[in-house]
């Protein structure tokens, strides 16, 4: 067991844990198909975002973009803000988060606890409102620094240098890697590393599909694809709806005892799809997927109990991943 100089040094090194009950059964003598959950909730602030937060701040310090005492402005719906708040606290920066008001109460409380300041953008205004809010804040505070996780190569590099090598070391027989698609950093970094090292590995994206209210675009041209995204790294991309995400999140805790957030349920849904295909085709598979965070921050949604319809309704209009 290692010891660490500070919390920042304890980032990463998360365990891949087998899912003996949720992995699909195969016929006797058929090649095994196994699911492995990489438990990213075991990071310092409880999510996979500690990795990019730490890498982005370090890179900004080394390049001179960040100087002691600076204020960091981050538009975030949750985990990145929480991770950055911890890193900012320990490295001596002030953090201001801009976030939609329809995120869970726990996220807001956590951010404030870590010392971040929060500016809310109205949920009803969708992306137009978000653009307006962020532009206004930036115009008022030209000295505030943005790390811009959607286009910051240090985000993907965090996974290229840590998540990828950890997976290869712990699970050299890996055949599939499945993760959530948001900034695309996890899939780009881990995916690139694994494609260089593992012949024939499949990199699979699970993208959350929200309720209609969340897609507050006026027209298609207001869409956005993160600058980090390179589709050639991916082999497949699944869209996972709220109902499937909730169902799989509940199965994770009920069947395997892993208490995860809803994005992990969406990722498991895609992982199960490829695992079942491998079974049908009689191929061996070690499918590693990301448990991005624990379920604590989402308890107030009420979506862990009641019927699936109730849960779907409770999460409608919310950013659950």
């Amino acid at each position: 067991m290692a010891r660490f100089e500070s919390l920042l040094d304890a980032c990463g090194g998360t365990p891949p844990v087998g899912l003996p009950r949720l992995s699909p059964a195969v016929d006797e003598g058929a090649p095994p198909v196994r699911l492995w959950a990489k438990l990213e909730d075991r990071n310092p602030t409880g999510s996979i975002k500690d990795r990019p937060a730490l890498f982005m701040v370090r890179e900004a310090e080394e390049s001179g973009h960040l100087r002691p005492g600076d204020t960091i402005l981050e538009p975030t719906s949750g985990n990145t803000g929480i991770a950055l708040a911890m890193v900012a606290k320990l490295r001596g920066y002030r953090l201001v988060c801009v976030m939609p008001e329809n995120v869970s109460a726990e996220r807001v409380q956590l951010l404030r606890m870590y010392g971040a300041e929060i500016i809310f953008s109205p949920a009803a205004g969708g992306s137009n409102q978000a653009v307006a809010t962020a532009k206004q804040i930036a115009a008022e505070h030209p000295d505030w620094k943005m790390l811009f996780q959607y286009g910051n190569p240090a985000n993907a590099r965090a996974h290229y240098e840590t998540t990828g090598p950890e997976l290869l070391h712990d699970l050299p027989t890996i055949t599939h890697f499945v993760a959530g698609l948001g900034t695309t950093g996890t899939l780009m970094g881990t995916g690139r590393f694994l494609k260089e090292k593992v012949d024939g590995i499949q990199i699979i994206a699970a993208e959350p599909r929200y309720g209609e209210l969340v897609y507050g675009l006026r027209n298609i041209d207001e869409g956005y694809v993160p600058e980090l995204y390179d589709p050639t790294v991916l082999d497949r991309r699944f869209s996972v709806g709220t109902r499937d995400a909730v169902l799989r999140t509940r199965q994770l805790v009920e069947v395997e005892g892993i208490f995860a957030g809803f994005s992990s349920g969406a990722i498991l849904h895609a992982a199960l799809a490829v695992a079942l295909e491998a079974v049908r085709e009689g191929r061996r598979a070690d499918v590693a997927f990301v448990v991005a965070d624990g379920g604590w921050k989402y308890l107030s949604t009420g979506a862990y109990g009641g019927t699936l319809n109730d849960a779907e309704e409770a999460l409608d209009g919310q950013l659950w991943a």
């Binding site: 939609p100 953008s121 809010t133 993208e207 694809v225 869209s239 991943a321």
Partner: protein, 104 residues
Amino acid sequence: MAIEVRVPTILRSYTGGSKVVEGSGDTLSALIDDLDSKHSGFKGRLITPEGGLHRFVNIYINDEDVRFLGALDAKLSDGDSVTILPAVAGGALGFAAAAALLRK
């Protein structure tokens, strides 16, 4: 050959407000042509003048992104479900767009 197509809010002006429409075709391209014949102008919102899928349009066949299934040549079968969505950045949505604007 009936295929159920889910239409996002921003494209419903072409479908008379309908959330779900039916179409036919053995490829995505044929399906979009069929939909355009019933809902004039629909195709122009999905396909660029160069003939590719619009950068900010994502189309899924049975929840899988068509860009990894042959894009417009992706095969369709009776009973398939097609979902059209605007491209947004996962959990970040408009905040990603905001950040992109700020960078400029």
